[in-house]
């Protein structure tokens, strides 16, 4: 794989494109070939659209050629993502393409329009390769709740990639694409990024328009990037951010250009840490957490201190109430959002019952999977007459307390908080499927950030028993540029660490055309 284009970072691809050393078509073709050749054992993709991708790549090449003819200013004006391949979680609408959200109820549904971020990516010149696997309706932390079978983790094919954006994370970690898009409602970008050893960012609520995205919980859902380094993730965030009048929750707040101007030099990046102030919330070292994960996080704190930052232990006293609050608010919103799947205008439909009610019951009863039904039931119950005050209203009040915890710390002058992304490394298939509450605990360190609407990024910080550990940086609202700068600084400070060069352990197994599929591994007796 000496000069394999798929091994490059997105910004390295962009440099070669501009230097005329490769073309967008070559980049797309190399990634499509690798995705096809290596996805049997991974199952990161639900759709790969070669024809569309190559056409988009040709258009990007033509635009680059035209810019070149115009002069270097025109070339420099192209977005850093111009001509670069990308994957989208299968809940992002791409006009004319299937969009399942990992559910049977949307199997065969073709989006009649582009999502806002799809339009933005087209404007930036990115090349969409296809759509990635996910927990059904983004409900899950392992990708095992996909109606189309699970995705594996390239570090250990017996383990989950995390979720819900598991396919987006696994595809980037396995070099099938340099970039991908996920969504994060309670940790669905950061947790799979941690478990797959890559960078994943959840922006501030309101930073990215959700127009054209399949909704899960509307006061929590945000769209964000996956990449193999901070600079690439930051450039992708830049491309999709900004106000869109079709999503009234997208904020009219300028998108900082600093996102595409992170330092290239490791030393320069690390030097930013001098004099910065970080807090480590003690409540994020939860009971039952993997001690090897905790050790990596403590080492990361030492690294930050050694680079000149001050790190204080701090408290977010209502952290422990986050899980219960989230598992009321998110299902309540989901039960309302998912009412639209009625088998009338699109999607799976069962007809011929005695009346319209019988058709609804049959359509929804057979179209949704077990986790989605569980959440709809929880949410419907929490909103039902007699329970609304005790559950939903109570949860919204506790949400205020959770948000105030963060506000107080950022008001006291902390630049960012440093915490584990996940209490565990990647777990085995089936390990948390029997008990929904155990699965929900996977997101204990990420979901308070969604409750407060804040930005959070997970970056690799080493290995525990050969599996990746994610370091989470959390910032105040609209601080993405600072947060990515901090993440880039940590990357710079650890550029020479031994674990930096370690490739996912099971990558080579993916080249074997007879490797078991993740579904076969789950079905096999253990």
């Amino acid at each position: 794989m000496a000069d394999d284009l798929t091994q490059l970072l997105a910004h390295e691809m962009a440099s070669r494109l501009r230097a005329g050393e490769t073309s967008s078509r070559e980049l797309a073709a190399a990634h499509l070939a690798r995705a096809h050749a290596t996805d049997r054992g991974l199952h990161a993709w639900l759709t790969i659209d070669d024809e569309r991708a190559l056409a988009e790549a040709d258009a990007a090449d033509a635009k680059l050629a035209a810019a070149r003819a115009e002069g270097s200013a025109a070339v420099n004006a192209l977005h850093p993502l111009h001509g670069i391949p990308i994957a989208l979680k299968d809940l992002v609408s791409v006009k004319g393409g299937q969009c399942t959200a990992g559910s049977r109820i949307l199997e065969g549904y073709r989006a009649p329009y582009d999502a806002h971020i799809t339009e933005r990516l087209r404007e930036a010149g990115a090349v969409i390769l296809g759509k990635t696997n996910m927990d059904e309706f983004a409900m899950g932390s392992s990708c095992e709740h996909s109606a189309f079978g699970p995705t594996a983790n390239p570090w250990d094919l017996e383990r989950v990639p995390g979720g819900s954006s598991g396919g987006s994370a696994a595809s980037v970690a396995a070099f099938q694409t340099p970039l991908s898009i996920g969504t994060d409602t309670g940790g669905s970008i950061r947790q799979p990024a941690a478990l797959c050893g890559i960078v994943g960012m959840k922006p501030t609520y309101g930073r990215v328009s959700r127009f054209g995205i399949v909704a899960f919980a509307s006061s929590l859902d945000q769209i964000g990037p996956f990449a193999r380094d901070v600079r690439d993730a930051s450039a992708l965030l830049h491309a999709v951010s900004g106000r869109d009048e079709r999503d009234s929750t997208s904020a009219p707040i300028p998108v900082p250009d600093d996102l595409v101007n992170l330092p290239a030099s490791e030393d320069e990046a690390a030097s930013w840490l001098r004099g910065k102030r970080f807090g480590v919330p003690k409540e994020y070292f939860v009971k039952g957490m993997d001690p090897a994960v905790e050790a990596r996080i403590r080492e990361a704190v030492t690294t930050l201190e050694a680079a000149g930052a001050t790190v204080d232990e701090v408290s977010l006293p209502h952290t422990d109430y986050g899980l219960a609050t989230y598992y009321i608010v998110a299902p309540a919103e989901a039960s309302a959002n998912l009412a639209r799947y009625d088998g009338v205008r699109f999607g799976h439909s069962v007809r011929g019952g005695d009346d319209y009610l019988a058709d609804y019951l049959a359509t929804r009863g057979t179209g949704f999977g077990p986790e989605v039904k569980r959440r709809i039931m929880l949410g419907t119950y929490a909103l039902s007459a007699g329970y609304y005050d005790a559950f939903y209203l109570k949860a919204l009040k506790v949400r205020t307390l959770i948000k105030r915890d963060f506000d107080e710390l950022f008001g006291a002058g902390f630049d960012a908080l440093v915490a584990p992304t996940s209490p565990d490394v990647a777990f085995r298939f089936g390990e948390k499927m029997a008990d929904p509450v155990r699965m929900y605990l996977s997101d204990a360190c990420t979901l308070p950030v969604n409750m407060a609407g804040l930005p959070g990024v997970s970056i690799p910080c080493g290995l525990a028993d050969g599996l990746p550990v994610g370091l989470q940086l959390i910032g105040p609202a609209w601080s993405e540029a600072t947060l990515m700068r901090a993440a880039r600084a940590y990357e710079g400070a650890t550029a020479d660490a031994a674990w930096r060069g370690v490739l996912p352990t099971d990558l080579a197994k993916l080249d074997d055309p007879r490797v078991p599929t993740p579904a076969e591994r789950v079905a096999a007796p253990r």
Binding site: G206, Y321, Y356, R364, F368, P370, T380, Y381, Y387, K403
Partner: protein, 98 residues
């Protein structure tokens, strides 16, 4: 804290318009009660004077000019219809009788 009976589970399933099998109802009864046990923790907190937070962004009353714009292509939209009649969706009858 409340405990859900089988009848409660059936009632909520009806409200949610989910047709569930007896096996699913039985499994959900156990699982939902286990999850509701986690909710009990919230009762530890006195929230009498705490305002609710329904969303975190400080934007209100987002308005825009009421201007006519092109709609989606009816053919692309109706292509997803489980059943169509010309340019219309065929829907189950909602009024009883002959």
């Amino acid at each position: 804290m409340a405990t859900l009976t089988r009848a409660d589970v059936e009632h909520v399933a009806h409200l949610a318009r989910l047709g569930l099998t007896p096996d699913e109802l039985a499994r959900l009864e156990g699982q939902l009660n286990h999850i509701l046990d986690q909710y009990a923790k919230l009762a530890e907190l006195n929230t009498d004077d705490i305002p609710p937070t329904a969303q975190t962004i400080e934007l209100e009353n987002i308005l825009r000019d009421d201007v006519a714009r092109p709609s989606l292509d009816p053919e692309a939209v109706l292509a997803n219809a489980p059943e169509r009649d010309g340019d219309s969706f065929v829907v189950p009858a909602i009024l009883g009788g002959e």
